[in-house]
């Protein structure tokens, strides 16, 4: 045996192999995608909060700069009445985000409750709840919103949010129900039951977290849906046009034939803002799904390092790097 003696230096600090709970909670911060998403969203949230103070002009105030392209005075140009588009967009942020998130949370919540209950309870309860979600799937959103808007003195933002939520939860519920149905029969749910977990605990801690990716995707979907619905509603002129949101801006742009008149700025900026919010949500969604699935986590978290080391983690083709010692006889 011509082997050398390997005296391994005791360099490895004795620490927990897995990060501790607290550390784990902030792990997702290391995900570049999620971080970008959060940053964009945070930007809009800040604008939503402080919009009133940072908007350069009164969004309703007319000026003599009619339909001006972006300039130093008006970064996003002006409207046909000389109003500052940027101020309108800034002040519109709040209502967009508020409605979107209220509707998103509400719809997701209803969807979760109904979907998981239906999937978990099974039997008649399931059929009842499924029928309910089916009914809500077929109720047309637009007339419903018109009705509710008409029944209430002013169809304010929250009303719209609630209506969007009411008409928007059913899809999520269906998806969750199907998934719950299959999870319910998994051994680990049975095992938790056999261990004595209460039903709601099983739902909340065993089933729900396994649905997180799905719920997150659903939430992102609903929020985008809410943004789009709200903006579409404003655009068709169903919801009030006096409170600014991006849809209102677009509505005016369309009513004043901004595109035909070459006033692209009037159109472009609100649209881009909507898209940015959507993208930020999607990015966050990626972050969430990489984070909640323990199997994906380390790949997701270390994407950059991996790229640097030339490692592409794949199923079925374990990457090989010759980094370790290979000196044994």
């Amino acid at each position: 045996m011509a082997a050398e003696i390997i005296v391994e230096p005791d360099t490895l600090p004795l620490q927990d192999a897995a990060p501790s709970g607290r550390k784990r909670r902030f792990l997702w911060m290391r995900n570049a995608k999620a971080l970008t998403g959060v940053a964009i969203l945070a930007f809009f949230v800040v604008i939503a909060v402080v919009g009133e103070w940072i908007a350069p002009y009164d969004p309703d105030a007319r000026s003599s700069d009619l339909l001006q392209p972006p300039s130093w005075e008006h970064w996003m140009g002006t409207t046909h009445m000389g109003q500052d588009v940027m101020s309108q967009v800034i002040l519109g942020t709040r209502s967009v985000l508020l409605i979107a998130f209220v509707a998103g949370f509400l719809a997701t919540f209803i969807g979760i409750v109904v979907g998981i209950t239906a999937g978990y309870v099974g039997g008649v309860g399931d059929e009842g709840l499924s029928a309910l979600s089916n009914v809500f799937l077929v109720i047309p959103q637009l007339p419903l919103i018109i009705i509710i808007a008409g029944l209430l003195p002013s169809a304010g933002g929250l009303t719209v949010a609630v209506v969007i939520a009411i008409t928007g939860w059913a899809w999520g519920a269906r998806v969750l129900r199907a998934q719950t149905l299959s999870l319910r029969k998994r051994d680990f749910v049975e095992a938790a039951r056999a261990n004595g977990e209460s039903t709601w605990r099983i739902i909340l801690s065993e089933i729900l977290p396994n649905l997180t990716a799905m719920i997150a995707a659903g939430f992102v979907g609903t929020v985008s849906f809410a943004v789009l619905s709200q903006i579409t509603l404003s655009f068709i002129g169903i919801t009030p046009t006096d409170t600014w949101n991006w849809g209102t801006v677009l509505y005016w742009a369309q009513a004043q034939l901004a595109l035909q008149r070459g006033a692209w700025w009037w159109y472009m900026f609100p649209g881009v803002c909507i898209a940015l919010v959507g993208i930020s949500l999607t990015l966050i969604n990626f972050g969430i799904d990489e984070f909640v699935n323990p199997r994906l986590r380390s790949t997701g978290l270390n994407a950059k390092t991996l790229r640097r080391r030339g490692i592409r983690p794949r199923i079925g083709f374990t990457p090989v790097v010759h980094e370790a010692k290979e000196d044994r006889a």
Partner: protein, 363 residues
């Protein structure tokens, strides 16, 4: 110093290696990796059944997966070679193959039956199709019908009625699924068959059927088997050679009966003699005292030293190397990683070597 005489084996494998694993290292995780395998070397000879036993969690499955490059993320092979020698003598390093070549080589050269085989079948395809899949992928000229006919034969081989070809996996019991996996692994007459606890879900009757079947086939087709199991009795019965793993390293590697009757590593002894006998007088068993070390932060030196009755100062400082047994009369091919057998290494590190004790058992 064992008094037991050598028993000749019925089947003596030729000593030409078909799979040589050298210095294979595997990490789990990318940023704070656990070094699960550290420079493991192992040779599988053609036509041989190599048993792999060891502590639960010592890296047996990891070794099997890594050798086939099927380790799922976050597994990472950080070094070593896995050289496969084809029937015609060409040698190739599995770890250096590109995707296409690896694909071609898979299942024909090396097939694998996974631990937890019950989840290894695609739930939406009929099992016949899944077996035929592998055949047509590698033998594109085989017609679908022929492939299915072959699949039927294979099922029959593992004791499943060929009528079951059109069943979906969920229609089979766990044991049947395991057998389907075995049938599938045999589909292309692979030269190496790696089986990771292939019979855990089976009753002994079935287990015997399969084991016999494999033995039969091996004799007929001459493939080699790496058999991973915790069922030591079974292992001793079917394996020609047994490698014992401990904490991500191979600690003993010798002919099956040699290991069973004359273990040279204290851990091998503990492992092989702590199962209760089915026949004969009941006897009380002690097991191995202590618990396995943490792979994430292994101490220097011999990982077994904390649980070893024969540990001495060198064990804490120097990592043992696989070396031929020092016991006179032992098969020169057998290897053991224990400082008791490598006095030169101990001496070179500046420690006083210990003489071999008379009895190597722990209890």
């Amino acid at each position: 110093m064992s008094a037991l005489a050598d028993q000749p084996r019925a089947f003596a494998p030729a000593k030409d290696p078909v799979l040589e694993i050298t210095n294979l290292s595997v990490d789990y995780g990318y940023d704070e990796p656990t070094h699960v395998l550290r420079q493991v070397s192992l040779t599988l000879n053609r036509g041989e059944v190599l048993g792999l036993a060891g502590e639960s969690g010592c890296g047996k499955s990891t070794l099997a997966y890594a050798a086939t490059r099927l380790l799922p993320p976050p597994g990472l092979i950080t070094g070593g070679q896995v050289v496969f020698t084809d029937r015609d003598g060409t040698r190739r390093d599995v770890l250096a193959l590109d995707d296409a070549a690896l694909r071609r080589s898979r299942w024909q050269d090396m097939a694998i039956v996974f631990q937890g085989a019950m989840n290894s079948l695609n739930p939406v395809h009929r099992i016949g199709r899944q077996i035929a899949d592998a055949i047509t992928a590698h033998e594109p000229r085989t017609s679908k019908a022929d492939a299915l006919a072959r699949s039927a034969e294979l099922l029959d081989l593992v004791g499943i009625n060929p009528d079951r070809l059109r069943d979906f996996p969920h229609q089979l019991s766990g044991g049947m699924r395991q057998r389907v996996m075995i049938a599938m692994a045999l589909a292309l007459d692979p030269q190496v068959l790696i089986m990771d606890e292939p019979t855990t879900a089976l009753d002994v009757v079935m287990q015997r059927q399969i084991v016999e079947q494999i033995a039969d086939l091996r004799e007929r087709l001459g493939f080699s088997v790496v058999f991973i199991t915790h069922d030591v009795s079974l292992l001793i019965e079917i394996a020609d050679r047994i490698a014992i793993m401990y904490a991500g390293e191979i600690v003993e590697d010798a002919a099956a009966q040699d290991v069973y009757r004359r273990p040279r590593h204290p851990y091998a002894d503990g492992l092989l003699h702590s199962f209760p006998p089915l026949r004969g007088p009941r006897r009380e068993l002690g097991g191995i005292p202590g618990s396995p070390p943490d792979l994430a932060s292994l101490p220097t030196g011999c990982p077994f030293r904390d649980r070893c009755a024969f540990a001495f100062d060198a064990c804490a400082a120097v990592q043992p190397e696989l070396a031929p047994s020092l016991v006179p009369g032992d098969d020169p091919a057998r290897a053991v990683a224990c400082h008791l057998h490598t006095p030169e290494l101990v001496a070179a590190a500046g420690f006083a070597p210990r003489p071999l004790p008379d009895r190597l058992t722990l209890t």
